[in-house]
């Protein structure tokens, strides 16, 4: 029965779990990067994740654009200020960024205007 229950668990494993596993694997293949779960505020770091959410706020100054990335261990935000065009980013793209980690309004980790690289198809390797 234990076997059967394990099999059922495996069959019912959510696609999100499966995806998170893939993302962790992808992140670990990029040299010098730290998993988001191990990041601390006020330290320089290099992280890699897939863009899960893009927030465009035309109200702040001449526009703020935020991208939330996930790497299978957590999520964090990359924020660009003073933009009136999209900085080439799109959902599902891989974002590798390096900069100082700060804390945002809702307590999440944020990098302001980080140096970044984009990877078009991170989820297949």
């Amino acid at each position: 029965m234990a076997f059967l229950s394990r099999l059922l668990d495996r069959l019912a494993r959510t696609p999100e779990d499966f995806r998170a596993e893939n993302l962790r694997w992808w992140r670990s293949s990029i040299p010098g990067t730290t998993p988001i779960a191990e990041l601390r505020a006020r330290e320089r770091a290099k992280v890699a994740g897939v863009i899960q959410n893009i927030r465009i706020d035309p109200r702040e100054g001449s526009g703020a654009i935020e991208a939330t990335i996930i790497d299978g261990t957590g999520h964090m935000v990359s924020k660009w200020l003073g933009r009136d065009r999209m900085p080439g980013i799109g959902l599902g793209m891989g974002l590798i960024m390096e900069g100082m980690c700060g804390i945002g309004d809702d307590g999440e980790l944020v990098m302001l205007n980080p140096e970044y690289d984009l990877v078009t198809d991170p989820e297949h390797a």
């Binding site: 696609p15 995806r19 959410n53 706020d57 035309p58 959902l91 599902g92 989820e123 297949h124």
Partner: protein, 757 residues
């Protein structure tokens, strides 16, 4: 979804794949070859036979012509393949004949090619499944009465395999395809050895006496040639499906096309040569005769294991030819949907990244065809071929024009090849259309214009909608801000009605009124909300009409920029979808509101287990987060944003669910250009389930319905002709189904009425 449902779906369809896994579903050449070649290769199982049937009418003289005719067919195959090799390089996005004709010859030739191809794919499935069933029922005649049931079982199997994914079905179906090729080569090889080193075997029908009915004539030869060109069917499959290949797509597709052509030509010539050597005779009217390939196999292998192997593999490949159509029909329909010629729903990818809607529609259409034709192969096969040759002719003509206008080095040579091919396939098309017209080809020839007209009118509809949605004169954002008027529909005094009152009060509309059809609620209502006047609607007419009339009457006194919202409280017994069907009257009432111009609909659902008698539901929630669901920046979106602004919300944000990087970047830039003063969030929905993604997104607000609520604003299009509604995604409907049962979530439909004319 329940755990049991998830497990079942997992077993039958497999793990849902995220959008990022797309490249995993691309086919390597070893799988692509059988996937796209099962249709063209399977035609070798009967092409020679089709030519022999015609030739038999001219007696022995006629039969001797099988060799030269087969050579001519093989040459034509080579020409068509050469032309299609250029096509796959020129149009790597797939679409084959449709794309070539549309770009080079114009819209109508493009639609002609598209309809011909779509009809042909449906026929391919119907014909090949029927052929497979025929093979089975001739082996065990007891099953003859169950023909249609068996055919449906095959369709269900192939459909399910294709819903699992292109690669999965391809891998499974590769085995019989390669098996068929090998078994035919074994047969040709064995025959070749016997004829070279010994004496050729003689077919069982060699001594069959038959009388010639026609003298040999040019027309007869032409007919035999046209019949033999059955061997070409399926060649178009690869050109339609280039995007299914691994990178570099065009070059892999071109290579696969060459390999397929080499296999097909050699098998066809081999079978025809053996047919000549073994003196097979096949007469259409004669019953109880084995197929030409079967007769050759029997003669060469003298019965025995290999004979049965060839038989089994032929039956298998006939069924699998359907699989090629399953690859191409959904893809072509998605391309047509993208070009606005078919409903947009054909672009949706399912859990396994296949175009599920196309797969299902193909299965249904083929099923209908099989029922209508009572699974009768002889009748179905008459419909076949016309579509293929229309697409061959158009595609090659288009390539001639393209090469001529581009004038790359060596263009004259290439244009000559395609041009010659176009002329020959055109002649074959005419011969087929004439000879098969009364046997059934007329059905296809009459159906094509209807399909074309349908696609044309879908296109016209989409473009008028697009123009109207972007029309600057109608842009609501530039209008004066209107007032909000809310009307609560009181069906009974319950917790949901009380909560609706609290929600509505927090939105601070210009006025609140209430309506009911039950005169008994008056005094209780005054205790609940003294300040809100209650009107009792009465009359002999049904509730739906009474409410609608009342609202239309109110609407007359309001300005064009004002909103008039009907608030519908709903107390749900459980979190089951059946709740929607438990109140058919209310569902119909809500549906009828969508078609009433200038009326918005606010749903305040509450599940019974949320009821807490210690809480005063009529109190205003302190925080109201408003989410406007957007899919693009147009008038319907702008109207919904304006509506959101009238709600005195804590915050307003637009939310969109997307998949691909290009789309999200474009939407972001449009948002910035439109200067809409609210943030837009674009959230990835990698598993393409917007309802589920929205639910997860809403849960971050942790709303309880009492102190904190989320209002989801859904812009909806309402088209003037009801039948056109199906052309627009039913996203709002899908979303409502999810948010209905979420605690503290209310949903507003803001219909945008189109006046497309």
């Amino acid at each position: 979804m329940s755990r049991a449902g998830a497990v079942l779906k997992r077993i039958f369809l497999g793990r849902p794949m995220s959008h990022g896994e797309m490249e995993h579903t691309l086919l390597p050449k070893t799988i692509a070859l059988p996937v796209f070649s099962s249709d063209p290769l399977s035609s070798n199982a009967y092409a020679t036979q089709e030519a022999l049937i015609v030739l038999a009418a001219a007696g022995a003289v006629g039969l001797n012509l099988i060799a030269p005719i087969s050579l001519a067919v093989a040459t034509l195959l080579a020409i068509v393949v050469t032309s299609y090799r250029q096509t796959v390089r020129a149009y790597p996005s797939g679409g084959g004949a449709y794309r070539v004709a549309h770009e080079n010859l114009g819209m109508y030739p493009g639609l002609l090619a598209a309809s011909a191809l779509l009809i042909d794919y449906v026929l391919t499935v119907a014909v090949s499944i029927t052929a497979g069933v025929e093979a089975i029922t001739s082996a065990s005649p007891a099953l003859h009465d169950r023909k249609i049931v068996i055919a449906f079982a095959f369709i269900a199997f192939v459909t399910l395999m294709n819903l699992r994914g292109v690669k999965e079905s391809g891998t499974l179906f590769a085995i019989p395809t390669y098996g068929f090729v090998l078994s035919i080569y074994l047969m040709i090889g064995a025959g070749l050895i016997q004829c070279t080193f010994g004496s050729c075997p003689t077919a069982e029908s060699a001594d069959l006496s038959f009388h010639e009915t026609h003298a040999i004539s040019l027309f007869l030869i032409l007919r035999a040639f046209a019949a033999g060109t059955t061997a070409l069917t399926g060649v178009e499959a690869i050109a339609d499906g280039v995007p299914a290949f691994r990178y570099p797509q065009s070059s892999n597709a071109a290579k696969t096309l060459t390999i397929m052509a080499a296999l097909s030509t050699s098998m066809f010539l081999g079978i025809s040569w053996l047919a000549d050597q073994t003196h097979v005779v096949y007469i259409e009217e004669l019953e109880e005769q084995r197929s030409v390939v079967a007769q050759i196999a029997f003669a060469v292998f003298d019965g025995g294991f290999f004979f049965y192997l060839v038989q089994a593999m032929s039956a298998a490949i006939l069924i699998l030819a359907a699989n090629t159509a399953y690859q191409d029909f959904p893809r072509l329909s998605s391309i047509l949907a993208k070009d606005q010629y078919l409903p947009h729903q054909f672009m949706n990818r399912g859990d396994r990244l296949v175009f599920s809607n196309g797969v299902l529609i193909l299965a249904v259409l083929a099923g209908i065809l099989i029922v209508v034709f009572d699974a009768n192969l002889t009748r179905l096969i008459q419909l076949y071929l016309v579509g293929v040759f229309i697409s061959f002719t158009l595609s090659q003509t288009g390539m001639v024009l393209r090469t001529r206008s581009l004038r790359h080095p060596g263009w004259r040579h290439r244009a000559a090849v395609s041009g010659f091919g176009a002329i020959v396939t055109g002649i074959v098309l005419i011969v087929i259309a004439v000879t098969k017209f009364e046997h059934g080809a007329w059905i296809v020839i009459t159906a094509i214009p209807f399909v074309m007209a349908g696609m044309r009118s879908i296109h016209r509809h989409y473009s008028t909608v697009k123009t109207e949605l972007a029309h600057p004169a109608r842009k609501p954002a530039e209008r004066r801000r209107g007032h909000q008027h809310m009307v609560i529909y009181v069906r009974q005094l319950d917790a949901a009605t009380a909560r609706a009152l609290g929600v509505v009060r927090s939105m601070r509309p210009a006025d609140i009124t209430a309506i009911t059809t039950d005169p008994g609620t008056g005094s209780a209502w005054r205790r609940l909300a003294r300040e809100v006047p209650l009107t009792v609607l009465s009359g002999r007419r049904n509730v739906r009409k009474l409410v609608r009339e009342h609202l239309m009457e109110r609407r007359k006194d309001l300005g064009p920029t004002d909103f008039l919202t009907l608030v519908v409280p709903e107390l749900l017994a459980s979190r089951s979808l059946l709740e929607i069907f438990r109140r058919p009257g209310l569902t119909r009432l809500k549906a009828s509101m969508l078609t009433a111009p200038g009326i918005q609909l606010l749903n305040v659902p509450m599940v019974r287990d949320e009821i807490d008698i210690m809480i005063d539901e009529t109190q205003e929630p302190a925080r109201n987060h408003v989410l406007v669901l957007v899919s693009g920046v147009h008038n319907a979106t702008l109207q919904a944003i304006e509506y959101a602004e009238s709600l005195h919300a804590t915050d307003i944000r637009a939310i969109s669910f997307g998949l691909d990087p290009e789309g999200t970047e474009k939407l972001g830039n449009l948002w910035l250009e439109a200067r809409i003063p609210h943030p837009l969030e674009i959230e990835a929905s990698p598993f393409r389930d917007i309802g589920l993604s929205l639910r997860d997104y809403i849960r971050q607000f942790e709303c309880d319905g009492i102190h904190r609520i989320v209002t989801v604003v859904l812009p909806e299009f309402v088209v003037s002709k009801r039948r056109h509604q199906i052309l627009h995604g039913q996203t709002a409907l899908i979303v409502k189904r999810y948010v209905l049962f979420e605690r503290g979530v209310v949903a507003v439909s803001v219909p945008y009425h189109l006046h497309e004319s």
